[in-house]
Amino acid sequence: MENFSFKDEALQKKYEQRVAELKALADEPVTDSDHLWDETVRRYAVAMRRTKKVLSSKGIQDYITMGMMKNIDTFLNRCANAEFHIALVGAIKAGKSTLINALLGYEYASTEVTPETASLTKFKKADKNHVKISFYTNEEWQELWDSANEAKATVFLEEYKTLKADAEKSKWLSSSPKNIVCDDKEKLVNEIKRWTSSKSSVHYFVKEVEVGLKDFELPEGVVLVDTPGLDDIVEYRSNITRDYIDRANAVLVCVKSDALTGQEMHTIYSVFSNVRYHPEKVFIIATQLDTLNRPEENWKLQEKEWLKHLKGRGAYGSEKLAEANTIPVSAYLYTLLKEYDTYAEDDQNDKKWDLESILSKLRIKDIHEKYDWLCDFTNIEKLKRTIKTDIADHHKEKLREDIESTYKICKEEIQDCMRKIRAEQEDIIQTSRGGIEEIQKKKKEFTQKYKEASDDKKELEGLISRLQAITQKRAGELEQAIKSLGR
């Protein structure tokens, strides 16, 4: 930066103050947890955020176009919203909740016999344990209600009546999201249950539940989403799952690890129909491995059978992919092993009996000797690694590449703009030092520039709008021709 000096003391003081302010602004530490998912991205975001501050300061902001500011905001949003959504899908009692609990390291999701999930439940990392509940709007509820009546969803409608849910309707519909901070995990579990359980009247009006966890055992940015399922009789709700599957970065389909049933194939094929061009994002999770009579041997035989169906074109369309993306797990055994110390001495504890039973099926007498082997057998750690490498890291890489290229474009645009403004201002300084004649000449130049820019704008505006009109006319004709195909 050039060092200027002014005859006027006030101006000199103002100038020095400005330099100091901007230096402080530029070097100010940015403490922002939004971009912590990647160091490179964080660096870019911090640089762009500081640049935005400088460009928004009085004086220069008059020279910055709205388009440039919009591009900076779009870039910063892209850096911040780095979430990798993993949707969990499964038929009733497919072991979805047990798997969620094993992945999260605590029994957050209810494993009761009645289906608990009627809305999307998102588990993600947060600074504080909390539950954030969003509700349907009146319009959305009307659609859902029509959908339930159209499908003659008797169970839904009868339970709605039994639970006297209608009396609560006006209290929740279209209300603002509710955020509840929970001091301990137990309170968190109760809150999740309160808003998602099919036995509570309010659950009908809950659109989405976000569960923020302080202790989150999955990689930064991962959002684990429990879905209501594709076979929900209320089409409006199954459509929510369907749309979500389409947008999610990965889908874990929970299927009980014994012989496949027609119903399970319904679910599996439905998921693949929704990810037409990305079968690789589907992972078939063979759950409850520990319930097989001879878990290891039985699964080996079962897996061969499964692959015959999964390699078909209605699913993976490739044997290799089907093999790679089918993961057998024993989530309950994993949880039993992790909690072993808490019940090992208690002979009356159900968990101890459950563990004994599984160990006998696996012909294991001494748990201590085979503890590591057992943990490996459950495959939960393998699944966590898959989530990290195949899902989170892979998507992070793609997102980082996109952010890098956007940053380069933004940076070039800003730098070009800065150079242009600087050249103009230097020109003004030069002129101002040249005396009244120079100034008068310059003024004429600016008037000329203004006129030129007006003409240039008019010309380009005209050309673009003519091109747009032709495009729209032709697109309209094409649309008519395409639509007539189906008539």
Binding site: L11, I428, S432, I464, L467, I482
Partner: protein, 241 residues
């Protein structure tokens, strides 16, 4: 003066393609109707092999539909490409002007790339999302006993799904085109507008200077200009990381 935009499309060729596609699609729908009508009633309790067989019928249908819908999408792609090519020619012809105002060609290229990427695979994807066992209406059809009624229901369903997919596709393209032009207008015209405003502002700033106040006013102008230069330098410094 720049020539008028020219869109080199061959409407006769496209109409021909679309007509041929329309006829084949009608045949494909009639075939799936016949095939599904001869299957036994299938529901969640059916055997895995029965479900597999049904899926095989659906997959054949989807594959045939994909081949044909991709012809429609290729026609749209060719059309939209010709629009974007014309836009690029328009900017090529105005290279000096683009450089003069510092308009980013890279961003325009990115917007074109994004627009073109939205054209292919859409109709097929829409059809697939409906021809699925999680679709309540389709589930009701496959549950029906074999026969003419089932065939008619399947024909009507497949026909409607195809029509709806076409409608959604057209709407999607229309929206994408509209967003594209909005962004182009914003990216190009707002830059020129800003240059216009700057010239106006600078001109007004110099307007108040006369022989009497020249020295004093000049110093103020220099101070303001210097502030802006400092901002520019800091912005560049920050961007370097």
């Amino acid at each position: 003066m720049l020539q008028e935009p020219y869109i080199p499309y061959n409407s006769e060729r496209i109409e021909k393609i679309l007509k041929a596609v329309g006829k084949t699609i009608a045949d494909i729908i009639s075939i799936i109707g016949k095939k599904v009508s001869s299957t036994d009633s299938i529901d969640e309790k059916s055997s895995v092999s029965d479900v597999d067989n049904l899926i095989e019928i659906f997959e054949t249908y989807k594959e045939e539909t994909r081949k044909k819908t991709s012809e429609i999408e290729e026609s749209v792609y060719a059309e939209v490409s010709s629009f974007t090519e014309e836009l690029e020619i328009l900017f090529d012809d105005r290279e000096t002007l683009i450089k003069k105002y510092g308009i980013s060609r890279k961003r325009i290229a990115r917007q074109i790339h994004h627009l073109l990427a939205e054209i292919r695979g859409y109709i097929d994807n829409e059809v697939c999302k409906s021809i699925t066992l999680s679709n309540q209406e389709l589930r009701n059809i496959i549950r029906m006993i074999p026969g003419k009624q089932k065939e008619q229901a399947m024909n009507e369903f497949a026909d409607r799904v195809f029509r709806e997919a076409l409608d959604t596709y057209c709407q999607h393209i229309r929206e994408e085109l509209s967003v594209f032009f909005e962004e182009i207008e914003e990216g190009v015209l707002s830059v020129i507008e800003a240059a216009k405003e700057t010239a106006d502002r600078n001109s007004r700033e110099l307007e108040n200077i006369n022989a009497d106040n020249c020295e004093e006013q000049s110093e103020q102008i220099i101070a303001n200009a210097n502030d802006i230069i400092i901002d520019c330098c800091v912005a560049e410094y920050v961007l370097k990381g």
